[in-house]
Symmetry: C2
Subunit: 473 residues, 2 copies
């Protein structure tokens, strides 16, 4: 019996809901019907219904089986974005950032859709506490001394083992533990560039990476990343032939902010290109573990042949942002990155590595991940529906297949910074679009994180955001 | 009563020290014992001890009477070092480092005097474990999220409170928590310099800082730091008037490797100079808490008036190197450093900050420090004595008043790298002198860490090192 048959059954039921065969309010076929028709166990049938219930499409009713609550979201149009490649530009994102208001962390009077990290209620608090207690029991004198620059060997091994899931065969020696993914990207950049060099970055992209590039005094060329198709690999090759490019930073899966996932052929083409042209490609796969589909997606690194792909990721989006455990697999630059790590801050804290090792090796991480992925999928769907309902006509919304952010294009006249200001007055926060590019694009875009457990307050806040957007038209 | 009876008593005690009845590091009879046995007043007994203390033979310890520092043999001469200022130089220390063999961490077959961190047996293992257990009990959801870039407010407050001890009045807002002191120095350098700038560094100095400068593509001017007198502040002023200097890195107390402590007037002069000339001075005070004297020494920051002194330190030398908790007080550059921290690795791990806060706020840190300082003082004295006994005539040894390293100048013909090679063959490791400068100086110098609990194996190793040095003459 296929373990994942329940997903296929759920998919069939979902289509029957969407095509009005089972309209809102009607009863679905019973568990017994599914059991008999599809020759699956009652347990499997139950799992199919539970999946739909978790997505908020149906609900169990006492003695009357499952009832349809709503269709899964109508396909709204995707955000458009820019289409032309920028020239080589100095980075000035910090000027844009000065225009933005940043939320005070931990201020519970606010409901913040700003940060791209799960709310505390979605994190595995008890498992983390247990892992810390275990780590303090496992503590030996050795752990008080400097860890090696590369990090705890067993933690590196656990991460290397996970590479099997994205069709790589990394070993512990390929991995370097860092203080989060941003440090990983930073070290990789420092290994392959120097001030004044040019780096190709997809646009829109995470402002933290842009700030990092700015601090390293690098120039950038912004390569359009379409909300549906991702980057154009021919365009990438063209840029690299026309300009002297020191490195590229690309996101394999669920690009922050526009959610796009590169298709397999593009991942492969980029890896082939990097290795042939000997251009280091930093493959930021920080959202890869948060896939909504069953299968963990591959990344560009999966197709790396000669070590020109430098994979960066972390557990900040899945376990705890405050843990600061990231890692990279910098391919042929592993030794350089390791040395840079050593001269920058010697090594990453041992104790948190021990705790993370505990979470991975006991399976607690995977158990948590399974739950978190379903929850985030549901939140993304519910938030999408709320935006589609409350925001002005003409609003376009990304359709991420993983991660936890939505990229929202508002009708052209709406200024994202003004929207943020008005929202802040109502104790709601969002991330204005211009933060996600160096060229001041995306003035009428916002990023909304689906990072809160779904409740009335969240629903009200999204409704309020829609009202403000209407007013600003 | 004979007025000079105290001199006779002091003489008796001195003979007991010289004939090893009270060896270095041991406690002398108490004041009360002298008072009772010799039928003299407590005041007279005190005068006898003070006389020996004035000769530098013994030292008073809080609550534990007087401890033997050294025999009244002739003091060994101090290492000499270089006396001329280098021009502006590119940093090439990594080439020198390639010549050195680095010890495999945790290889217990070796006895390593290489690292400048206390051996695990000297660290507060139980207090650390307790603090971690308490931290995991105190853990709240908030701690799973990113800490602010500056760090945990209460930890910053605890550190700010400690500034009272070195005659500063820092507040929590002046402090930024980092992943160790090296990261603190790195961030401070990045805040005030850019690639190609020139930085003044005392020589000899810690190779980790030199490597950091090299990675940031900075040039240096090496300023001689005499084993007795420290740097010449007039020379520093002269260099800064002659060249365009972007920053200086100086060590207030117990310079690694030569142990020298800047006198008060020099600390004050440097701070005054930095503020008048508007040249940022990075004040590396990582060893300041490991003073052998009762009083915690001041630092250059103690005399800062307008925020041009950027103080850097950590708990790596006192609590646990592997904890990676350092901090800086970057004066007028606090905001820039905080931003750099945010774009480099967002924040320092929350959980370790909680544990460190626990160690500081419960007094466990201070209790440990009192013990550690006495232990390290004893180790420094015993190691000095062993070197003076076993090494070739003409060997010169530093006389640090804090920290845990000795800087040893061997007779001119002895090559430090060869000495290291021969020692490694005997499973002993030391740090060769040329690592501590950019110019390949100190070929016949070595740094020996007094980082192991004193035992027969350590004594044998020092004897063996002496034998090898004799052979290499």
């Amino acid at each position: 019996m296929n373990t994942f048959q329940y997903i296929s059954i759920a998919g069939k039921l979902e289509r029957l809901i969407n095509n009005n065969t089972y309209p809102v309010g009607d009863k679905l076929p019973s568990l017994r019907t599914v059991h008999e028709q599809y020759q699956v166990s009652i347990g499997t049938a139950l799992k199919a219904f539970t999946l739909l219930a978790d997505k908020g499409l149906i609900a169990g009713r006492e003695k009357s089986g499952y009832v349809v609550l709503r269709k899964s979201v109508a396909q709204h149009p995707l955000p458009q974005g820019v289409s032309t490649v920028s020239g080589i530009r100095e980075i000035t994102v910090s000027k844009t950032l000065r225009k933005a208001t940043f939320p005070a962390p931990g201020n519970t009077a606010f409901i913040s859709f700003f940060g791209a990290t799960p709310d505390t209620s979605l994190l595995p608090f008890n498992a983390i506490r247990r892992s810390l207690q275990q780590a303090s029991r496992d503590l030996t004198g050795m752990h008080l001394q400097y860890e090696t620059a590369a990090g705890h060997p067993l933690l590196r091994q656990e991460i290397a083992r996970r590479s099997f899931r994205w069709n790589s065969q990394l070993s512990a020696d390929d991995i370097i533990i860092t203080n989060g993914a941003l440090e990983a990207i930073h070290l990789c950049l420092r290994a392959v560039t120097q001030a004044g060099d040019t780096v190709v970055v997809a646009t829109p992209s995470y402002f933290g990476v842009l700030q990092g590039l700015e601090q390293l005094k690098l120039n950038i060329i912004e390569l359009p990343c379409d909300s549906a198709a991702g980057i154009d690999t021919a365009q990438l090759a063209h840029i690299c032939s026309k300009f002297s490019v020191a490195a590229c930073i690309l996101i394999s899966n669920f690009n922050n902010p526009n959610g796009v996932q590169l298709q397999e052929d593009k991942k492969e083409a980029i890896a082939r290109f990097a290795n042939r042209q000997k251009i280091p490609v930093i493959d930021d796969d920080i959202y890869g573990d948060l896939h909504f589909d069953i299968q963990r997606p591959t990344n560009i690194k999966s197709y790396d042949t000669n070590g020109w792909v430098m994979l960066c990721s972390s557990f900040s989006k899945t376990v705890a942002p405050g843990y600061r455990i990231g890692w990279c697999a910098p391919g042929r630059f592993t030794e350089q990155v390791s040395k840079l790590k050593a001269v920058t801050n010697i090594a990453t804290t041992s104790i948190v590595q021990l705790s993370m090792l505990e979470l991975l090796s006991t399976g607690a991480y995977d158990r948590h991940l399974r739950k978190l992925r379903v929850t985030l999928h549901k939140l993304v769907l519910l938030t999408t529906q709320a935006i589609a309902t409350h925001f002005p006509a003409g609003t376009r919304i990304s359709r991420p297949q993983g991660g936890l952010v939505l990229w929202v294009e508002l009708p052209a006249g709406i200024n994202a910074f003004r929207l943020q200001q008005e929202a802040l007055a109502k104790h709601i926060d969002i991330a204005p679009g211009p933060l996600f590019s160096n060229s001041g694009d995306y003035r009428n875009y916002i990023r909304i994180s689906c990072n809160h457990a779904w409740n009335r307050r969240v629903q009200q806040a999204l409704k309020e955001l829609g009202r403000i957007a209407h007013e600003l038209m």
